[in-house]
Symmetry: C2
Subunit: 333 residues, 2 copies
């Protein structure tokens, strides 16, 4: 691998001259610049970003810490952030935290150790205190889908309480009274907030929250099927099912169909997140839109503004969910 030194030798100039044409800021005469450029091409020179980082303590790369590498939700998120950052010439380094405290912490450490200029994290298992403490370090931390008051300027979040409220209210408005709820793991902030919204909606319409119509799932397809099985086995009389995310809703739909339900007539189902495939289910799934791509762009913009000093950017920190009515929640008569 050619180094800057060999380039300088070949071009007959000093090291720093080469360095200067690399970062093309300082004064270099056109003639020498050309010479250097030619030498670079000749040698197939590729600057080592590692060495660069060490010397300049800036890497032009931002770390992304997500829960999972797969799953439509995180896919959209990573994609939106990366795309937006790439335009600005920044790169991303992605690592998963698997919703596990240890792994999330080790993910942060990895990213910090790699001198990321900033980290955008979607973490669920670490405590707020940890995050606040971490934010005092040299690497700025930005949080996706999580609101921590002490560092709210670094948070991009969705109003999940409102989302949960909208979902259940939609069912109530359709005329349902026996509404079951499949929640997500309650240590996850968005899951608990969505549940909170569900309860608010029930309360507003004088419906009581019934433990028998409540199940905690895993945010995956299995959570939906397990939840519905639970309700059926307990002979719960329900006409509507609210799921805390789309994966669980789709799992519930499949389970329902396999157990003789005629969808959507026998059971109305609503999801949450509006991931792509909801629109390809049958019946198409009513859900709550979670504007992940926009939020990803907002996070990217935030680091562009804070870290890379791009001007003229205004950031929205809290996003609003929106009800998307489709076929899985028909009017009842």
């Amino acid at each position: 691998m050619a180094t800057i030194y060999q380039v300088s030798e070949m071009a007959g100039v000093s090291l720093s001259t080469v360095s200067r044409v690399l970062n093309d800021n300082d004064y270099v005469s056109k003639k020498t610049k050309k010479k250097v450029l030619e030498a670079m091409k000749e040698l197939g020179y590729q600057p080592s970003s590692i060495a660069r980082s060490l010397a300049s303590s800036t890497t032009n790369s931002v770390g992304i810490l997500v829960s999972e590498l797969d799953g439509p939700f995180f896919g959209q998120m990573m994609s939106a952030i990366e795309e937006h950052l790439r335009i600005a010439g920044k790169h991303v380094i992605i690592t998963p935290g698997h919703s596990d405290e240890k792994k999330e912490k080790s993910g942060f450490e990895f990213l910090i150790g790699r001198n990321c200029d900033a980290i955008i994290a979607h973490v669920e298992a670490v405590s707020n205190e940890y995050l606040i403490e971490l934010s005092k370090g040299k690497t700025p931390i930005y949080l996706m889908s999580r609101y921590v008051k002490e560092i709210e300027e670094n948070c991009i979040s969705l109003d999940n309480v409102m989302g949960g409220y909208l979902a259940t209210k939609a069912m109530i408005n359709k005329g349902h009274k026996n509404i079951a709820y499949i929640a997500g793991p309650q240590f996850k902030e968005d899951a608990s907030n969505r549940l909170k919204g569900h309860k608010q909606a029930l309360a507003e319409y004088n419906l009581t929250f019934d433990e028998n119509l409540f199940y905690i799932g895993d945010f995956k397809e299995t959570g939906g099927s397990d939840g519905l099985r639970h309700f059926i086995q307990n002979k719960a009389q329900i006409t509507a099912l609210v799921c805390a995310n789309d994966e669980m809703a789709s799992g519930a739909m499949k389970y329902a169909r396999e157990h003789g339900f005629n969808l959507p007539k026998d059971l109305a189902i609503i999801g949450f997140d509006n991931v792509i495939f909801t629109n390809y289910l049958y019946p198409t799934l009513t859900t709550i839109d979670n504007p992940v791509p926009e939020m990803g762009r907002a996070a990217a913009n935030l680091v562009l503004k804070d870290i890379y000093k791009k001007s003229g950017i205004t950031i929205k920190h809290v996003f609003q969910p929106k009800l998307i009515l489709r076929d899985s929640t028909p009017d009842i008569n």
Copy 2:
């Protein structure tokens, strides 16, 4: 940020001693080791992997270059590779190539510049020649879902021709004669091989390949709907539809339903890849299993063996697809 120097000072030993306990290979007495470890903890010391890489020219990280960050196929792939590598203490750096030649090349450059110990790539736009040339460089390249003869030892691939063959043959076996095919972008090797398999199956059963029953889609949901629309508008009389991947199949299903088809009776549909959501569609989608997770693990194992000298590993290079029969392809009578 604490450096190795401050640790050495605090522990009252030399730099290199600290370095040795870090890499705990050479001889260090238990006593000094303990002293150093304590000093590290006290200072909250975190070794800078950047500096480490520069000095040792090894990073314990492997680059992953995928087409897209979202999409169930790539999600599974990234996840499988990462999980397997993480066990061995290696990290991944992921970057997308967007099936675009320039972007794929820049992805390679980025990863190489970051001194990845190896790169696992799923690329579609760059030429075989480029890949062969690249393989001569200092960073070993491994290819997912692509077979290049000259570097076959570094390839993990699926027998896509066989997959395409199995899909169409399944339809023929169900009794269909008017079988339409929605292919993927033909510059992608897997897409063109699947098509090849389709043609083989047709030939084997003396069915002629009909341009009117052929459409090239984009491997996304829209490709499926566009394709089916095309056939309908051209008044093609078809009873079966073979799609080159699951996303297109799901798009086609939706379009079919919206246009009065009674699925699966009026139109049998088969996909390809067996991504998770196929099992949650209605009717559940018959498809060709693409063992992505296994292939991901194989790729990870390959670099573990080649690069990190882990022993006792045998690698399978070519994987076989498998027909997964579900409800979208009923028997016809």
